[in-house]
């Protein structure tokens, strides 16, 4: 499915590239990722993850924070977050800093 999906290390830091913006969509409700000629409507999970992407915290720290906030098993969150971020990198709406 994702032949060239990068393997993301826990120490990797990701960020939104110029031209990609996260914002609330008040008219329709929820949050969106705005990219060149594209709008991604985010589910609540994606929003929680992306709102923690600040170009400073590494993936491990983001996962720690999510595990604490949602009292969920860290390993499972790590797997989900990695898969989601790798997919966004492939779509070019996220980059490794």
């Amino acid at each position: 499915m994702n032949p060239s999906a990068p393997a993301l290390a826990e120490e990797a830091i990701v960020r939104l590239p110029r031209g990609v913006r996260l914002r609330e969509d008040k008219a329709r409700g929820g949050w969106v990722l705005l990219a060149p000629e594209r709008v991604f409507q985010l589910d609540p999970v994606a929003r929680e993850v992306l709102s923690r992407v600040d170009g400073e915290r590494d993936i491990g720290a983001i996962v720690d924070d999510l595990a604490a906030a949602f009292a969920a098993p860290r390993e499972r969150i790590l797997g989900d977050v990695r898969a989601m971020l790798a997919d966004l990198i492939l779509k070019q709406v996220l980059e490794v800093a």
Binding site: P3, R18, R28, L34, P36
Partner: protein, 374 residues
């Protein structure tokens, strides 16, 4: 089900195409502007555009595509971008890249421009400049692309393809990579307005189109993660219609240089539709209440064949302007669809046009009879 949908208030638009001007240094024979171009003296002023952007944001628009003509022909482009940014709108500049100085580009980046889409008419100077009818355009575009990436702005390359440049598809992909574009739009010419006038000069043969589709697919897979490739399909040879605009009055609107608000580029070709103007009406009022936006919204207007089709909310009946152009009736099913009685006729028409050798009729302002200056 569809009755309920039709009576409910439509969702707000996601995107707005702001056609700031019809002035343009290029004369591409497939231009999406209407044959009758709006002159400078009839363009909306800065304050009116700024009000429209405020209303667009209020209505729920997320992305604004600043287009033309050539948007850089407007000396207030920087102020217009700043106004969009102020209202939280994502700004996409659609430019030919031949008359925008580095200083202005930097000012636009500074104002908060999000993205630049640069048109390219061919992969070589010879082809590019002949189609744009502007010598030197290709080199200017290359230099402009370098300035865009140097300014840190994301770049999309957009190429309208047809019989005269379809053979350059592999070179166009290489050019996009070479120029540092992150996205490439391969748009088969859509036959409305100027392109319809020039159809016999532009229509590619069927085999060339099929080859191109396979080529784009292969390039997309090969370059995943490196270059996003989006394609606008060539529909005359298709079995199913394109979901034009993802449905009439469903996701986007188009404001012309003179302030008329349209559901799509070519909507003004449809007789009997009155298009409201932002000079007289609020954008929200136009979106929800104007007769033109409600004319082909949803599924209730559809002919029986579309009403009973399982794809009615996938294709949205295809394209109204195409139905008009090819059958004379905008409320017909899109004649590209294999269920349309006109389907075979459209295929024949494409094959015949592809074998003709017509000259370009370049896009130009018509001469004025009475010495008026545009």
């Amino acid at each position: 089900m569809s009755h309920l949908d039709d009576s409910a208030r439509p969702a707000p638009p996601l995107g707005m195409l702001a056609e700031l001007t019809h002035r343009c240094p290029l004369q591409c024979p497939y231009c999406s502007n209407p044959l009758e171009l709006t002159r400078k003296r009839d363009e909306l002023d800065t304050a009116t555009w700024q009000r429209v952007f405020a209303e667009a944001a209020e209505l729920g628009v997320l992305q604004v595509h600043l287009s033309g003509g050539e948007p850089a022909a407007r000396s207030d482009l920087e102020a217009l971008v700043a106004s969009c940014v102020e209202h939280g709108l994502y700004t996409n500049l659609i430019t030919a890249g031949v008359n925008l100085s580095r200083a202005r580009l930097d000012a636009l980046a500074e104002a908060g421009l999000d993205h630049v889409q640069l048109s390219i008419q061919g992969a070589t100077a010879e082809v590019n400049d002949r189609i744009a009818n502007l010598p030197g355009a290709f080199e200017k575009k290359r230099a402009f692309a370098a300035e865009v990436t140097d300014a840190g702005l994301p770049l999309t390359l957009n190429s309208v393809i047809h019989r005269h440049n379809l053979h350059q598809l592999p070179e166009l992909v290489e050019l996009a990579l070479d120029l540092g574009a992150r996205r490439l739009e391969i748009a088969h010419a859509q036959y409305y307005g100027w392109a319809l006038e020039n159809r016999a000069a532009l229509m590619p043969p069927r085999e060339q189109v099929m080859e191109a589709l396979a080529l784009v697919e292969a390039a997309r897979e090969r370059l995943a993660g490196k270059l996003v490739i989006d394609a606008v399909v060539p529909d005359y040879y298709a079995r199913l219609p394109k979901p034009c605009m993802n449905g009439w009055g469903r996701q986007s609107l188009n404001v012309t240089p003179a302030g008329r608000v349209l559901p799509c580029h070519a909507a003004e070709t449809i007789p009997g539709l009155a298009f409201w103007n932002v000079r007289e009406h609020g954008l929200g009022e136009i979106w929800y209440d104007s007769p033109a936006f409600n004319a082909y919204r949803g599924t209730a207007w559809m002919p029986d064949t579309c009403q009973s089709c399982e794809r009615r909310e996938i294709d949205w009946g295809g394209c109204r302007c195409q139905a008009l152009a090819l059958t004379g009736d905008a409320s017909q099913m899109d004649p590209v669809c294999e269920r349309s009685p006109y389907h075979d006729e459209v295929q024949t028409l494409a094959i015949v046009d592809a074998s003709r050798d017509a000259e370009f009729r370049y896009r130009r302002f018509a001469r004025e009879a009475s010495g008026g200056k545009s």
